[in-house]
Symmetry: C3
Subunit: 273 residues, 3 copies
């Protein structure tokens, strides 16, 4: 049962440092507040050491990286790891450009994040050292399907072992793995892909969950993925006729605001392999 990890976030109210893209940053901040965490954003190399020092977790998202913020990511990441904080990497668009691919791989190798969360194309890029993605969305050819599931579970565990990180691969079916176990999660709705930044929001949420549950990183990461997917289902049920993706975005964050352990335990749909 994953609900206890949700409750822990509200009890501990983890402060999360985000170096994230300017597209979805407001939604990331609001979902962190919705789940009971507290967000702070800082990307200036001269500012990030101080800021990350007062936090418990660091969420690095390369969605609109530039040379200055890349430097900030490394300075913050090294400091956070030195202090024993939780570090998550969201390799947005890895595979879509050389700069993104190289930056994501370098962060993975030098910072050694505790959690890496991306779509399948991004994760494959990290594994292979190169890749192609349709912009910031996963390539259809890469999708985790029922047919490829067994193989993908093995892939996720193997990459978790190699990288030393919890690996979260999100899509129609979500996988959250360490080297030994893999959660296969079937919450969520396809319409979530029509909102910008549900992945970024999930990365923020996951950083808070794992930070508040340091001794149960895998379970906490899985709880974040199921919470987000379930929030997508609840919000979809709340959508009125004529409402579309912009209101859906608000309703998903609202559903996280009301999420508690019981709701998650009743709505979570997953298996562990």
């Amino acid at each position: 049962m994953l609900g206890i990890y949700v409750e822990e976030v509200r009890k501990k109210s983890p402060l999360v440092h985000n170096i994230t893209n300017y597209v979805t940053v407001n939604d990331v901040a609001n979902i962190l507040l919705a789940c009971g965490g507290s967000p702070i954003m800082s990307d200036e190399p001269e500012d990030v050491e101080d800021i990350t020092s007062i936090c418990g977790g660091l969420n690095i998202n390369i969605g609109t990286l530039n040379k200055r913020t890349i430097e900030g990511m490394f300075v913050a990441g090294k400091k956070a790891k030195e202090l024993g904080h939780i570090v998550l990497l969201d390799p947005v668009g890895a595979g879509a450009s050389r700069l993104r691919t190289e930056t994501a791989i370098k962060i993975m190798e030098e910072i050694k994040p505790d959690v890496i969360r991306g779509n399948i194309s991004e994760i494959k890029t990290l594994v292979n050292g190169s890749g192609t993605t349709k912009g910031v969305d996963a390539d259809v050819a890469d999708a985790v399907t029922e047919d490829s599931l067994e193989q993908m579970v093995a892939f996720a565990k193997k990459f978790a072992k190699k990288s030393g990180a919890i690996i979260a691969i999100t899509g129609a079916i979500d996988l959250v793995a360490d080297k030994d176990h893999c959660y296969v999660i079937r919450n969520g709705r396809p319409e979530m892909g029509r909102i910008t930044g549900t992945g970024c929001q999930l990365s923020g949420l996951m950083t808070a969950y794992v930070t508040a549950n340091r001794d149960h990183k895998l379970e906490a990461a899985a709880a974040a993925v199921t919470s987000m997917g379930l929030a997508g289902e609840i919000a979809y049920d709340h959508l009125q006729k004529d409402e579309g993706n912009s209101t859906y975005r608000n309703r998903i964050i609202d559903a996280i605001y009301h999420m508690d352990g019981d709701t998650l335990d009743q709505g979570a749909r997953y298996e562990v392999f």
Copy 2:
């Protein structure tokens, strides 16, 4: 009938690269997803060539320009044109500062965008090489009115001819012109001016529409303007008592999410001169 151009966006799902301001970027991303397109944002000079190469259109918006992103605009713009992509320029605040005026004119002259969309004060600045605007909003003295309509249609066509671009001048009455024809569009509501970034959203939408309808650029640009105006009307009808500009913003994007060819054909109000 402009509805077919709306449908084409949903069929082709164009990937649009946006170098846009950080004020309204989230709404631009969500309206691109709402219309059936797919957004990606990147403004780092070392990243933009790779990113724009996998896209079909490039939306350049100078709303919060800085020296680094200006460089990104030129690098991306040149690459996009080299690849035969659609390039749109939104000269936000041209006329309000020397840097904005000079940057917009230089992009116009060196990149030769396929479409330029702005308010009348911004467009006059591009034509005259200087100007005054009330911040990012059009000067009232410049407004396109029934009295000045004939003259403004001629002005738009003439600038389209000179620049080689589709010219979209948006305001109470919208004009979309190439050198030979000008759509005069009367959709929309004045309350849309009380939301930040409806112009930026329209520029994103227009880039997707024109990219998906390369052989009918003028019609596609006009379809984007009528879609946005009609969405403003539909969203206004959906507004509840006590709701204001923040919810109106969401409802407009929601209306684009539900927009189809029939809805547009029934609601579009325009003439062609």
Copy 3:
């Protein structure tokens, strides 16, 4: 009665230049439009002099400062003061990092803003030259309470006298002081703290209010604080079951959109000491 200061904003439609963080900038723009003002954002040192020159007020918020935007803050601030414009400083995160503390203090000393608005931890940092905050939220130990009220009123007046600025300290109880008088305001709801950027929004709003009421700066600043708090109460009443912080954010801006002098005069809860 503070309602007349609200009405004045709608009559004068002040143009406000914002150098603000990319987390909450969209909400700041929309609340400025909601109250009847007009926002423009620009942070590039080469752009800010021109932009601030056409405005009446300047809102400096250090929430995601970097070296380039810090330079922009000083260039804009000096120009704005030279032109006799209203300048507001929001020292987001002062006390949380050396860079933020030093930048906020330097802006205070060199630009001499007309208004400084922050939470109690940020304001104490400005007074003491150093401090500790829980990220961008106030430290609980610092809170203005009924017990500490008299002492805090004296503290606010004293800092107003020393700095020459109107001092607004916002929290469960809000204080707005010049050297002689202090408004103690009891509007608002605790749930507003679960939305990112209600403080940033208030700073934008306050800049517009004070700019439109230059001869009544203290009253206008107090009117902004009561308006924001009352909007939080009205919006809370409008919240539907299942709605959370994301929709609450929209409803607060919507409530500002409908705010008028009568509504404020009927709902404002304050004393003057």
